[in-house]
Structures are given as C-alpha cells and as structure tokens.
C-alpha cells in the first residue's frame, strides 16, 4: 500500500504539468534581458549599473534625435545602439529610418533633402554591419526628392546612392560585396560614370565574374565612342583606362 502511494506521488511529480504561473513568460524574458545586460557589461568591461544608465541616456538621445536631421548624430546613435544593445538595435534603427523617410518626403529645399539623405545613409551603413540585405532593401525605399526641388536634388540623390554603395563595398572586408555590386550595377545603368564603372568592373573581376566585368568595360568604351568629347569626360575616361589597366595587368 505504502509502495503504491509512493508510486502515485512520484508519478504526479514527474508526469503532471507544473502549475501555470501567471506572467511566467515575462519572468523568462526579464531573466534573458538580465543575462544580455551582464554579458554586454562584461564585453565592455563596465559595471551593469553603468551599462543600464548608458542605455537609458541612449534611449533618451534617440527620442530627442527625431527633432534633428544632423548627419553626425545619425552616425553616432546607431553605433551606440550596436555597441550597447545589439539585440534591440535593428528595430530602433529601422524606426529612426522610417522617421527620416517621412521627414524628407516633404523636404522644403534641396539642403534639407541632402541632410536627411546623409543621415539615412549613415544610419544604414551601421545597420549594414548587422544585416546588409535589410540595409540595402531599406535604402531602395528611400524616396526621390520632390519634383519641386529640381535637378540639383536629383543629383544629390544619385551622389548619395553612389556613396552608400561604395561604403557598403568597403565595409566589413567585402562581406557586403554582392549587395553593393547590385546597387552599383543599377546606378551604372542609370547614369554614365567611368570611374564607378572601373571600380565595378574591378570588383566583378575580383569576385570571379570576369565575363560580367568585361561587359561593363566594353559598355563603357562603347559609350565613350558615342559621347561628345569634353575635357571632363576625357579626364574621367582616362581614370577609367588607368584603373582597368591596373586591374587587368598580366602577371610578370
């Protein structure tokens, strides 16, 4: 009898599910946050309380940054988030990007558009260190300048497009090369830029896509033959030839 009772008690302990504690999921979440806090503090070699304070200040700065279009702020904030709270940083950066996108859509002048676009570029360059595909996808959603701002604003957009692709290419030792090359190809099809084409061809060649690289070179040569020669395009083409020669030199 004693044996049967002992067996029943043991069965209840082992097999029956434990009591459902309200808010148990929240307890787990807090415990995981605590672990993350400790881990980050150890990595940064600072105290947990100090890290908590730094995160609070960063959150307040982020909320305040929504009133600013200062590009330097948008390069400091993402780096701070990635350093202090890596887990939360993608959502915060996307949120800030969304805010910037809305704010430039109605930019009153080309300067405001440029400031917003530069801020977004800084932000996404940091995001690219976490998730380059997402950063490129977000950049593709970046609005064109309002038509009322004219050609100068469109040139600013092209310039910033180019800077973003090149920055992406240089970042993290070429890990983002695929995304950057895709962006540069798109840009090359929109506007002729010999120096960009030379860099694109060099990158394609280095990543083993020789046929594609040669196609870019051929297209650039054909475009130059059809173009009216002015000093600027001749000088740019000369840079292209030098770059191609440097990258395709036969081994001695």
């Amino acid at each position: 009898m004693h044996c049967f009772r002992a067996f029943t008690i043991l069965f209840c302990i082992v097999c029956l599910p434990g009591p459902v504690v309200p808010g148990q999921g929240r307890v787990v979440e807090i415990a995981s946050q605590g672990k993350d806090l400790k881990r980050t503090a150890r990595r940064l070699r600072i105290g947990v309380e100090q890290l908590k304070n730094a995160r609070d200040a960063l959150q307040e700065a982020t909320d305040l940054a929504r009133h600013s279009l200062e590009p330097s702020v948008f390069s400091q904030l993402p780096q701070g988030w990635i350093r202090l709270n890596r887990a939360k940083s993608p959502s915060v950066l996307e949120d800030l990007f969304g805010w910037l996108r809305v704010s430039v859509r109605n930019a009153p002048d080309a300067q405001a558009y440029q400031r917003g676009s530069s801020a977004a570029r800084s932000l996404l360059s940091s995001l690219a260190t976490l998730d380059s595909e997402r950063a490129v996808a977000l950049w593709r959603q970046w609005p064109d300048p309002p038509a009322s701002l004219g050609d100068s604003a469109r040139e600013i957009k092209e310039q910033i497009d180019k800077q973003f692709a090149e920055q992406l290419l240089m970042q993290s030792g070429g890990d983002n090369a695929e995304e950057a090359l895709a962006m540069m190809k798109e840009q090359a099809s929109r506007r002729l830029d010999y120096s960009r084409n030379a860099r694109l061809a060099a990158q394609l060649n280095q990543s083993g896509k020789k046929a594609e690289a040669l196609r870019v070179v051929d297209q650039s040569i054909a475009a130059f033959q059809q173009q009216n020669a002015d000093p600027r395009s001749i000088s740019s083409y000369l840079g292209f030839v030098r770059c191609v020669r440097r990258n395709w030199r036969k081994p001695q």
């Binding site: 070699r45 600072i46 330097s72 702020v73 904030l77 701070g80 350093r83």
Partner: protein, 64 residues
C-alpha cells in the same frame, strides 16, 4: 586618436567651446551621479541636450 572606441570622434552638434566644456563636465558627472547629470541635461535646450546625452553615453560606455 578617438578616445571613445566605437563612436566617431567629437559630437558635431553643440557649438561653442563653453558648451563643449559644459558637456564634458556633465559627462564626467554622469560617472559619479547619473541622475544629477540627467537632471541637469534635461534643463538644456534640445540641440545641446542631444549632444550632452551623447557625451554621457560615450562617457558611460568607456571602461577604466
């Protein structure tokens, strides 16, 4: 050399040398008395407050 690894050198926002000194002092204060530093920063105008908060973040995320 950038004294704050992971952050670009020097906040561009927050103009004059006097402002810069004030922000550097707030950032130092944050190490000893975070609440007092934040209370002080919250009294500043928006642009300076942003720069001050960023300096506080830099200061706190530095190991000694």
């Amino acid at each position: 050399m950038n004294p704050h690894p992971g952050m670009p050198a020097g906040a561009r926002v927050g103009g004059s040398p006097a402002d810069q000194l004030e922000m550097a002092l707030i950032a130092e204060l944050a190490l000893d008395n975070f609440d007092a530093a934040m209370r002080y920063a919250r009294l500043m105008p928006d642009e300076l407050r942003l720069a001050a908060l960023l300096r506080i973040v830099q200061s706190l995320s530095q190991s000694y």
